[in-house]
């Protein structure tokens, strides 16, 4: 198992967090009793799937972990609580769940996860709100009101006098370049040929 876990540590060190979940899954299949062992990084496994957006896989990692491992690891319980908040999309309490004294192995992943969540929330606010109050924005982004205002100005939203932020919808992508247009024409031609047959 040490060899398998070593490759996972390498992935973490090189910040390829997306691959960690899959690597741990494969390692678990090689050694079926892996999840019952104390050395297995259960909370890392769970959070790796959460980071990659695969909440279902994270939930199944928890379901596969035997009861005694679940009881003996407060970090795993915290990770599962975070998963539960994300599963029901309880946007405000996610941040409280993220505030945990994660172990040294899990801490960089937790920090990266917080980053990712924050940018996703920001784009959600961009799609969903036309005006939003600064306190609510701060609650959704899990940061202080000053930081929330900064993030809003970073997106180009105007902060009004009454403490409300005018949210502008995200701009549509620019028109395609000429090379892409030529390729598109090529593809269209092949479709028409196919339809004629």
């Amino acid at each position: 198992m040490e060899a398998l876990l070593a490759s996972v540590s390498k992935l973490i060190d090189s910040r390829q967090y997306d691959e960690v979940g899959i690597a741990l899954d494969e390692a678990e299949l090689e050694d079926p009793s892996a999840l019952s062992s104390e050395q297995w990084p259960h909370s890392l496994h769970l959070l790796a799937h959460v980071y990659a957006g695969r909440l279902e896989d994270a939930r199944f990692v928890y379901k596969r972990t035997p009861e005694d491992r679940r009881q003996s690891s407060p970090e795993l319980a915290a990770a599962f609580a975070l998963l539960q908040r994300l599963w029901v999309k309880d946007y405000q309490h996610v941040w409280a769940a993220l505030q945990f004294a994660w172990s040294a192995q899990v801490a960089p992943l937790a920090a990266a996860l917080a980053e990712r969540l924050r940018s996703r929330q920001l784009s959600l606010v961009g799609r969903a709100y036309s005006t939003i109050g600064v306190p609510k924005l701060a609650a959704l982004l899990g940061c202080s009101e000053a930081e929330a205002t900064q993030a809003a100005s970073g997106e180009g939203w105007a902060v009004g006098q009454d403490g409300l932020v005018e949210v502008k919808p995200p701009a549509v992508g620019a028109a395609t370049s000429s090379a892409a247009a030529e390729q598109a024409l090529q593809r269209l031609a092949s479709y028409v040929v196919h339809l004629e047959i």
Partner: protein, 432 residues
């Protein structure tokens, strides 16, 4: 009548490329079968002495004979370990010469995993076995169903991901020893895995394939698929679609008569009952749902009901205050309504903008600018896939049209029709 050692010697001698057909004939013969059956105790030792990659065909027959002599109810750990070591290491070319034996071996592996209570042990070996037996990724094998079953029981849904997402186009019993039950089980277990991964659209596709399979009698698998189909449709779309015209009549009747509590739940959902009433109904039928293993799906269906109410509001109103929305959708207050709308916007189920200044929700038309790069890329990939499927369909059509059995049947039918026409009513007499 030889001994096991003589058989092993033959296997090692005849495992070159040219000698494999001869080896296959030898191994299939009754004499060798008797030898293997009588020396059941020494079979595993013999297998251990051979090389799994070079002598795959021989090892396969020895292991399969061992499987037939072991007790699948109790589980044999040694056999399981030997088989699990063999499956990832065998040579595809050799094992494809005896597909029924390979499929039988994999089935035995699954049975022993279940008997010993170690479903996870078999997941990786069976996954490797599917790749060995499949001539191409779009062929179906009996091992698919066994593999999915082990993944479900060991909760390793992620391991099944690539296989369940692959499109299956070809079922070829001569190459893969598939039976109709294997096809139905593939659809059912595949759908269960997709439900666990919350990919309801694909689950519905798989279930519909199982339900619309041609059949003369109702079987348990189809019935289970029907019930799950109705519940997943409720969760995904809020209503159960009409079964297609090509469904077997007996299945359409079963959908109305045999599905009991599920059919009643579907009726209640379409009648616009409140979530509380649905929950009360579900509580009353708890025992029946538990027996079918559908309790989780029923709960999801009832939860989805409230979301439908909000979605219906988008069709009626352009702007709505949060308080009104809460009242119409049966939620407890404007804060809960705001959170519900935010969640639906996140999931892409509704297009709206919330304004905190005046506490209103503006429902928008789906004003996506379809001239973006992402849309044209998506469109291109869809068209590419349709062209591929059209090509496959044309090839399949050609294969069926030139199939001997089909031509004989159509010939007979057109001949019979011509006879009837000839001996039919005489032509009309010409008028005055």
């Amino acid at each position: 009548m030889g001994t096991l050692d003589a058989l092993v010697a033959q296997i090692t001698a005849l495992s070159g490329e040219a000698d494999l057909p001869q080896l296959l004939n030898q191994l299939k013969s009754n004499a060798q079968d008797n030898v293997m059956r009588q020396s059941a105790g020494g079979l595993l030792a013999a297998v251990a002495g051979l090389d799994a990659a070079a002598h795959s065909l021989g090892c396969l027959h020895l292991l399969e004979a061992k499987a037939r002599t072991t007790n699948a109810q109790q589980g044999d750990r040694e056999f399981l370990e030997a088989a699990c070591r063999f499956l990832p290491a065998c040579t595809p070319h050799q094992v494809c010469m005896a597909p029924e034996k390979f499929a039988a071996l994999c089935r035995a592996v699954k049975a022993h995993c279940l008997a010993l209570g170690l479903p996870k042990r078999g997941v990786a070996p069976l996954r490797a076995a599917v790749a060995k037996l499949c001539p191409s990724p779009d062929h179906l094998t009996p091992i698919h169903a066994d593999f999915f079953q082990l993944c479900l029981l060991s909760k390793c849904y992620g391991a099944a991901a690539t296989l369940v997402e692959a499109d299956i186009f070809t079922v070829d019993p001569t190459l893969t020893a598939c039976t109709p039950t294997d096809v139905l089980l593939y659809c059912y277990y595949g759908a269960l895995i997709e439900i666990g991964r919350r990919r309801y659209a694909h689950a519905l596709d798989l279930l519909l394939t199982a339900i619309t399979a041609p059949t003369m009698v109702l079987n348990a698998i189809t019935l289970a698929c029907l019930k799950k189909f109705m519940l997943v449709s409720l969760v995904h779309a809020g209503a159960v679609p009409q079964l297609p015209k090509y469904t077997a009549p007996i299945v359409t009747r079963a959908a109305k008569n045999e599905c009991g509590a599920v059919a009643e739940l579907v009726k209640l959902c379409t009648q616009d009952k409140s979530a509380a009433e649905l929950a009360a109904f579900a509580q009353g039928k708890q025992a029946e749902f538990e027996q079918d293993g559908n309790v989780g799906l029923v709960k999801l269906a009832i939860e989805g009901h409230a979301k439908r109410q909000i979605q219906k509001l988008t069709q009626t109103y352009l702007t709505l205050s949060l308080a009104d929305l809460a009242q119409q959708a049966g939620l407890s207050g404007p804060q809960e309504a705001e959170l519900a709308v935010l969640r639906m916007i996140d999931a892409g189920e509704v297009h709206a903008r919330i304004s905190e200044r005046d506490g209103m929700v503006h429902f928008l038309e789906q004003d996506e600018a379809y001239h973006s790069e992402a849309t044209s890329a998506a469109l291109d990939s869809l068209i590419g896939r349709s062209i591929d499927v059209a090509a496959k369909l044309a090839a399949f059509d050609l294969a069926v049209s030139s199939d001997r059995a089909y031509l004989t049947k159509t010939e007979l039918r057109s001949q019979r029709k011509a006879d009837v026409d000839q001996s039919g009513p005489p032509p009309e007499a010409p008028g005055p």
